[in-house]
């Protein structure tokens, strides 16, 4: 099972804190995102991805505590037992 956690504005948008999905073989973050979207009637991928499917600045995606920009970005593999977090942090002070 893969656990996906939503924080801040994404939690409010999707009205869910977390989602558990069964793991798929050879899946990466980009493919997982498409699967997550199917679980929600509210579109949210446009918050994370641009028109070309690249990552928007703003929301941090973490796999097992590591920012995917320091892993393999959207191609970061996702495996059974992984913890995925979507977190748009506040910038001000």
């Amino acid at each position: 099972m893969i656990r996906i956690q939503f924080y801040s504005l994404l939690r409010l948008l999707l009205k869910e804190e977390k989602l558990d999905l069964p793991a798929c073989t050879d899946e990466n973050i980009e493919q997982l995102l498409q699967r997550v979207q199917k679980h929600f009637s509210t579109p949210f991928l446009h918050k994370l991805l641009d028109d070309q499917g690249g990552l928007h600045a703003g929301t941090i995606i973490m796999v097992n505590r590591r920012n995917i920009l320091h892993l393999e970005s959207l191609e970061t593999p996702v495996r059974d037992g992984d913890l995925i977090a979507f977190f748009p942090p506040g910038a001000g002070g």
């Binding site: 504005l9 920012n67 942090p89 506040g90 001000g92 002070g93």
Partner: protein, 223 residues
């Protein structure tokens, strides 16, 4: 007035040993705007021994709704100068050192600091600050935007760098929307964590507290 009398109510809560730890602590507060004005005030009121304040700003009208150290009479004056004046009025036993300027990678951290409060308002300065901190320094980060905020403690050299955790975070163009109540809540949580860190009992080490002010929701993100 005896020192014991000033701190009586909090010593009833956390005891004399922890109060002594506060009185020997040296904390750098980076940014004396929304978060920093309240964090520095709470640290001074609690009796933290020495505060270093870093900022390069002047008090302006859009600051007054959330930056609790400043008043209309301070418009156009240096935030650092006013902050020192007010903090010493609040607690004259605290030592306050001013470090005027903007934080970049050439920033020189005074040698006696073990604890740093990141009260900055942009990722670039935050990442530069972190680079300047020696291994072992505790960094308590706070951030807020609209109705979302976060507090996180990192131990430099042991934790993931802030710059790595927040890679890809968006620095909004222009002024960031924030309210006074939201800023004070996040600053209060930062002060709460700073006390815990000084006492040797951090609650948010490598653990980001994510605060939803719109629906009063708290969650944790391990990093």
């Amino acid at each position: 007035m005896a020192v014991d009398e000033r701190y009586m109510r909090q010593v009833l809560h956390w005891g004399k040993e922890k109060q002594r730890r506060l009185e020997t602590a040296r904390v750098l507060v980076a940014g004396i705007g929304g978060l920093g004005a309240t964090v520095s005030q709470l640290l001074a009121r609690a009796g933290v021994g020495k505060l270093y304040l870093v900022d390069d700003g002047l008090v302006d009208w859009p600051d007054l709704h959330r930056q609790l150290l400043y008043t209309e009479a301070d418009i156009g004056r240096s935030k650092l100068d006013i902050a020192k004046e007010r903090l010493l009025q609040i607690n004259s036993t605290v030592r306050v050192e001013l470090l005027p300027g903007r934080i970049d990678t050439s920033f020189k951290l005074p040698a006696d600091i073990s604890f740093v409060a990141d009260c900055l308002d942009n990722y670039s300065s935050r990442f530069d600050l972190e680079v300047c901190l020696p291994s072992g320094t505790f960094l308590v980060h706070g951030g807020i935007e609209r109705e979302q905020g976060q507090v996180l403690t990192l131990k430099v050299g042991n934790s993931q760098p802030l710059a790595e955790i927040f890679s890809g975070a968006l620095q909004p163009a222009g002024k960031i929307p924030v309210t006074g109540d939201g800023v004070v809540i996040i600053a209060g949580l930062m002060a709460n964590e700073l006390f815990s860190v000084i006492f040797g009992q951090p609650k948010l080490l490598n653990r980001c507290l994510v605060v939803g002010l719109g629906d009063l929701h708290l969650s944790f993100l391990d990093v």
